[in-house]
Symmetry: C2
Subunit: 493 residues, 2 copies
Amino acid sequence: MAKELKELTPRGENYAQWYNDLVLKADLAENSAVRGCMVIKPYGYAIWEKMQRELDNLFKETGHVNAYFPLFIPKSFLSKEADHVEGFAKECAVVTHYRLKNDPEGKGVVVDPEARLEEELIVRPTSETIIWNTYKGWIQSYRDLPILCNQWANVVRWEMRTRLFLRTAEFLWQEGHTAHATEAEAVREAETMLNVYADFAERFMAMPVLKGLKSPNERFAGALETYCIEALMQDGKALQAGTSHFLGQNFAKAFDVTFINKDNKQEYVWASSWGVSTRLIGGLIMTHSDDNGLVLPPKLAPYQVVIVPIYKNQEQLQQISEKVAGITAALKARGISFKYDDNDNKKPGWKFSEYELKGVPVRLALGARDLENGTIEVARRDTLTKESVPVEHIDSYVARLLDDIQANIYKKAFDYRTSVTREVNSYEEFKEEIEKGGFLLCHWDGTPETEERIKNETKATIRCIPLEGDKTPGFCMLTGKPSAQRVVFARSY
Amino acid sequence: MAKELKELTPRGENYAQWYNDLVLKADLAENSAVRGCMVIKPYGYAIWEKMQRELDNLFKETGHVNAYFPLFIPKSFLSKEADHVEGFAKECAVVTHYRLKNDPEGKGVVVDPEARLEEELIVRPTSETIIWNTYKGWIQSYRDLPILCNQWANVVRWEMRTRLFLRTAEFLWQEGHTAHATEAEAVREAETMLNVYADFAERFMAMPVLKGLKSPNERFAGALETYCIEALMQDGKALQAGTSHFLGQNFAKAFDVTFINKDNKQEYVWASSWGVSTRLIGGLIMTHSDDNGLVLPPKLAPYQVVIVPIYKNQEQLQQISEKVAGITAALKARGISFKYDDNDNKKPGWKFSEYELKGVPVRLALGARDLENGTIEVARRDTLTKESVPVEHIDSYVARLLDDIQANIYKKAFDYRTSVTREVNSYEEFKEEIEKGGFLLCHWDGTPETEERIKNETKATIRCIPLEGDKTPGFCMLTGKPSAQRVVFARSY
């Protein structure tokens, strides 16, 4: 297998190739036989499961419940919200038939022309339409509100250029869809979920994010306002990591969802929707990893510790394994996940580089000498340093170390972002600086035309209008017209 | 809303209508705008989440990992395994196009005829083909085996007659797909998972099941042997609750998946697959529920306890709520889930029947009199009995009660099954007895022809050839030919 070839293309040589190499060689995902669809391999899926578990807890803590809505959307539903159809109806998978039959002319099967659907079904690219059509039956009065539903699901968008995790035709995500009696409550919900996403990104992924609003050009199709978290990858390109939309009454109007309010008057329902996807795994990889492989935050690593025995014969292995049993029991009691790799077919050196590639945060190695001395070797993946420490209380040592790694990789990413975030005041300077990557804080006149021209000329877009930080007004770097505050430009994934 | 009308059609009057009423009125699921596809509502989905969590734990304890494979299957893949295509390729959703465009003749969107796929994609009805095509790249040597993957996913089978949870076009399930170096190991895996399913059904769902083999007629399309668990619903009809297949080398041959064995010889890989679905929720409902509503096993109830305050004024409510705070803290410490319903818009009587309908295992009611007396009213859903007990140590009382309810509803279902399971020795008797429902233990000559004739004449099928119990040989009730052992006949869902 290709596993023997663990070398990655260095980031400095070709970042995109490094990323692709890493996803494949760390066994995270691979392309499938179906164009644009990936297979998420067990190690990659284990990261997604950890993300799901933590996000799901955060959703439930904020009062949300899960539900499940159909995979298919009747074609006519997509046309009901004018902006939405422009944004989503075009590149999607269309089901036209419901039966195959044996090929009358020979081998295999063919589509049965008699089994044509009266109305085509679209594989959901997002579920606002089918969900608001459902909510119509659930809502009569303000007493039925709010509805705070989330769905864990697969969606399909027929992307032309795909990259593992970052942009695939099918991807996994969660989509929250909430219904409210007032505008203020729907806005508050969208903001609450933006904060949940930012909290998750920073506390679990150790990935610093900017919180902001999208410019009208970058808004979700059908939203009045799109909130987002934007992260910065090591190559200086931005990654949109999550979005939360205030949808106003657009979908309620499209699907005629009204309620009787407290004043006994009929009103359209207010909405929000919000989502993050397996794209986050791409962001996780590109925030922390290095030329040796993955670097995973302890809070999301499939296992946090790997233990490798160093032995010359079966008797030594036996002695080491007995010692390890005590260590793993202590780790388990602390809720620290681990793998003891006593596979006899592989040498310690092979194992060391394998777990380095896979980003296991802490590696413990135990040999005959250690048994004599009461020591153990501890290596941390983030700094690639190792030291020999007393084996006694190694569990509490590891617990502290995991916290330290989580904090350290966050700080490293935060410092990197700070180092490549700068104010730019003229368009000339902008065109020069954008080539170097990073976040550029610039004044913009607030018009789609200016944003569009900058995008066409420099490939940079407004990543967000930040909610926090400096709000001093100024003048647009391109047109000189007034600007309410600096916005964040970058090239992006 | 229809919620005010909580009355269900009694089971004795119309069992199918009772089931449908209950699914709708207990807010478990509803039909969607898409033919045959259901919406799983939050309360129903919460049961599925509990099932998923427990099953996933059991899978991981037996060495399995999760992964994710594409939703779409190239049409040609389905033709590669001859039996499989016969069983699955016919009624399925076919994606033929990947783009819509604005209707040139007016409103809405139409399929863009220029965006026709070269090869049609099938929405997975099950994933053996796409997964074995993927495994080809993962397996070279016996060292790469076994592969023990599970997938949680949605699948689509274009069913003509659908019923909520029991038979829907789209449903949620898990599908395990394992690859092995030897036949014996693959058979053992299929048997292990059968036992996991039976354990889950009995220990968590409190639903007794028969473990057995399917007759060739009822086997999975592409399997050499199908193991199953069969449950019996209250109306005397059987429900196939889970299947585990020994696939031999069929899919390895179809997708050319070979490995170098320990003797350095090339060999085809051995396979198993196994799955359970949201259909289990239908089985859960029909095993325990009654004319008053759902009866849920404590181990899978979204919340195990509901607490209802009985008060005349806000001061009383305040005092009761303070007392309840202590109770809920104690329940939480024991890991017992609960809901405190202090909603002021609904009367206690309304709440009582609501939670009865929703099958909450234990209801606690606390009033002003209880505060004085140091008592609390405890009602159990399974027996519909209530009693007043000391509020002190109510948490340990409830913990024991939940265990008792779990055991009691299992026993009730087990006793019912026993009462309607009987040996039948002649075909005349069979035709009479099958009308009464239940499991009929009969001798059968082992031929598909006999099974087919019995099915056509009585609508009964062989649910399974039991693995446990009496194995005395005899003579087929229809043909008089030799029979190796009695098999289980029933009408089924």
